[in-house]
């Protein structure tokens, strides 16, 4: 666990990609969208001053805006939220509950090709 962030540094430079399998329901996606807007958008959104987007763009991740990705997986999203990476800190369960995190994952994988 101690080395989780070091591990993520390697990981995020290599791949965020993997296929997704089950199609989640719409209400879960809507909830995920709301939670994403509150907790993730200020860093990973579109527009000026979004350092998460800028950081991913600087490292060649395409598209750099997470909402536009079609290759993220739920387990990977959960690892980043719970362990952080680079200057992204960990997010605690009092901030993003496990259920909210499931919803974020549903939202960010909604456009994955099955």
């Amino acid at each position: 666990m101690k080395n989780a962030r070091a591990f993520l540094l390697l990981l995020c430079g290599v791949t965020l990609a993997a296929p997704a399998f089950a199609a989640p329901d719409e209400s879960q996606i809507d909830r995920g969208h709301r939670v994403y807007d509150k907790w993730c958008f200020p860093c990973h959104g579109t527009g000026v001053g979004k350092p998460g987007t800028e950081s991913l763009a600087a490292r060649g991740q395409k598209p750099a805006v997470l909402e536009e990705r079609t290759d993220l997986t739920a387990p990977l999203i959960k690892i980043f939220v719970r362990h952080g990476v680079l200057f992204m800190p960990t997010f605690r369960k009092t901030e993003i509950s496990d259920a909210d995190l499931d919803a974020i994952a549903a939202y960010l994988t909604r456009n994955n090709k099955h």
Binding site: P42, P51, S55, A58, L86, F87, P89, F91, K93
Partner: protein, 526 residues
């Protein structure tokens, strides 16, 4: 499971059971994975035993639950480290000073109890973030501005209690605090200021109440748990404008800062003023330092380059808020005052009338307009985080010269390469003072982090030798900083300890915060 120091595993298990009964099993975190989330995400102790690791976390959703937790902690002498939103990153994040402490996570207490746009204040709980308060104000179309710090993910309660700073006219955040509700170490609830009067109608409107003013005791301290706080807001101004003042020569800084101090202390310049130096930026681009290092491009040479390439030595962007015709006059008056410095030049800046819909192409600092954001991390984007060294120095040009010389001597003595400096010129977050901010990069390199900690500690000493002290520090250095505030045989720290022992005899609240340890954990001073 890790156990708090001095607590038996049996007692700890009993306390955890009682915490669960008080707040619900779901809100007591004991698994390694869950507790890991409370470590410092920007820890200067990565991969070292010294890293501050909590034993558990407990998250109440209201003041009664917080009281219940305090009572249980007293019964078993469990140290509780309180966090509001836990985003005190660069100063320790959510991690405790004492490993094994239980984190008292107040994030669930996230109610916005009142926002007035008639008399411009809010009453909030500790878990309310700047983003939350901003969204609430937008949704309710209230004509008030918050004053977020550069990263907007923290909380008005946490940031104000840490005496943080922002960019707008209300940049000194503790100065905006008006009335607190506090759970004392014995579990009793107290309200400060006018809140001490039952049924008071002015808790968030008049700070001082009657008798001694005690709010300061709960800032950067471990004397109580603040569960509600009043914070003053800015009436939405009609207009904003900014402009930049530039001077050519090194020694111009003395009249430059003197003029700035007059304008700032007269509240003609209202936003936080930050000193900049295009010529020192040039020196850094050539591999030199912001601080003065042996072998760097000399002052005379820099001035020559400045003359040839029309680069000013010093500059500052100044921010004005208020009625449109008044901010225009304030800028005119500002130019008039600075015009006493030969060769001074000015650059007209941005101008807005509110409400305004900003476009991406507007390069204005959002937080200076009361809009919380995280854009500062664009600057820090390639780092793993940082820890801040932040000494207060006098608001004068002479002090800046001396500080850059002293910091340079420390960097030279410690062999720190210029590219690792990561230091900004000082800011005036607080009235009548400058604060320097050094962001030490965090690395997954034990030796590099150890070296940075040595430099950090040497800077604390060097500053103290020159009469400068930190306004706030990382949990790793709280003892070091407390130790240099030592006037008259540590009279102030001894007062803190006297208060600590009287209010918190079991030493349960945030042991080690600001170097204040309860009696049972206190080490003898050298």
């Amino acid at each position: 499971m890790r156990v708090p120091p001095g607590v038996s595993p049996g007692d700890f298990a009993a306390a955890i059971k009682q915490f669960e009964a008080a707040v619900g099993k779901e809100w007591v975190f004991t698994s390694d994975d869950d507790v890991e989330l409370y470590r410092d995400s920007y820890s200067p102790f990565w991969h070292e035993e010294e890293d501050r690791v909590p034993s558990a976390a407990v998250a109440p959703d209201g003041v009664e639950q917080a009281q219940a937790i305090v009572k249980i902690a007293n019964a078993y002498k469990i140290p509780l480290w309180t966090i509001s939103t836990g985003r005190n990153l660069a100063y320790g994040g959510s991690s405790p000073a004492l490993s094994g402490s239980v984190i008292l996570d107040l994030k669930r207490m996230n109610r916005i109890l009142e926002v007035s746009d008639k008399n411009h204040y809010a009453l909030v709980e500790p878990g309310v973030s700047y983003f939350d308060l901003y969204r609430y104000i937008q949704e309710h179309k209230l004509k008030v501005w918050i004053d977020p710090p550069d990263p907007g993910w923290g909380s008005p309660v946490g940031n104000s209690l840490e005496r943080g700073g922002g960019r707008g006219p209300l940049h000194d955040h503790f100065a905006t605090v008006c009335g607190m509700e506090v759970v004392l170490p014995n579990g009793e609830v107290m309200r400060t200021g006018m809140g001490a009067l039952p049924g008071s109608k002015t808790w968030q409107q008049y700070k001082y109440g009657f008798g001694p003013y005690v709010d300061g005791l709960f800032s950067q301290s471990n004397f109580g748990i603040v569960t509600k706080m009043g914070v003053w807001l800015l009436p939405e101004p009609e207009a904003y404008r900014d402009g930049t003042v530039m001077v050519a020569r090194h020694d111009d800084l003395v009249p430059f800062v003197e003029t700035l101090a007059y304008l700032y202390n007269s509240q003609i310049v209202q936003g936080t003023a930050a000193l900049d130096s295009p010529l020192l930026t040039y020196r850094v681009s050539k591999g030199g330092g912001v601080v003065d290092l042996p072998g760097d491009i000399s002052v005379a040479e820099l001035e020559r380059i400045g003359r040839e390439q029309n680069i000013p030595y010093w500059s500052s962007e100044l921010h004005f808020y208020g009625p449109a015709k008044v901010v225009d006059l304030q800028w005119e008056f500002t130019k008039e005052r600075f015009s006493a410095i030969p060769g001074v030049t000015f650059k007209e800046g941005r101008s807005y009338r509110f409400p305004v819909e900003l476009k991406d192409s507007d390069d204005v600092l959002r937080q200076a307009l009361g809009i919380p954001n995280l854009s500062v991390f664009g600057f820090l984007g390639k780092t793993l985080g940082h820890m801040d060294f932040s000494p207060i120095v006098p608001l004068s040009g002479e002090a800046v010269f001396e500080a850059l010389k002293v910091f340079g001597e420390v960097y030279h003595e410690m062999g720190v390469p210029p590219q690792n400096q990561f230091i900004s010129l000082p800011w005036a977050f607080f009235p009548r003072a400058f604060v320097f901010l050094f962001g030490f990069q965090i690395m997954h390199d034990v030796e590099a982090n150890k070296r940075n900690r040595e430099v950090f500690r040497r800077l604390i000493e060097a500053c103290a030798e020159h009469g400068w002290g930190e306004y706030r520090t990382h949990v790793a250095y709280m003892d070091d900083v407390a130790n240099v505030y030592s006037y008259n045989n540590h009279a102030m720290l001894r007062l803190h300890e006297t208060v600590k022992d009287a209010l918190d005899p079991n030493g349960i609240l945030s042991p080690g915060k600001s170097g204040i340890w309860p009696k049972r954990l206190r080490k003898a001073r050298a």
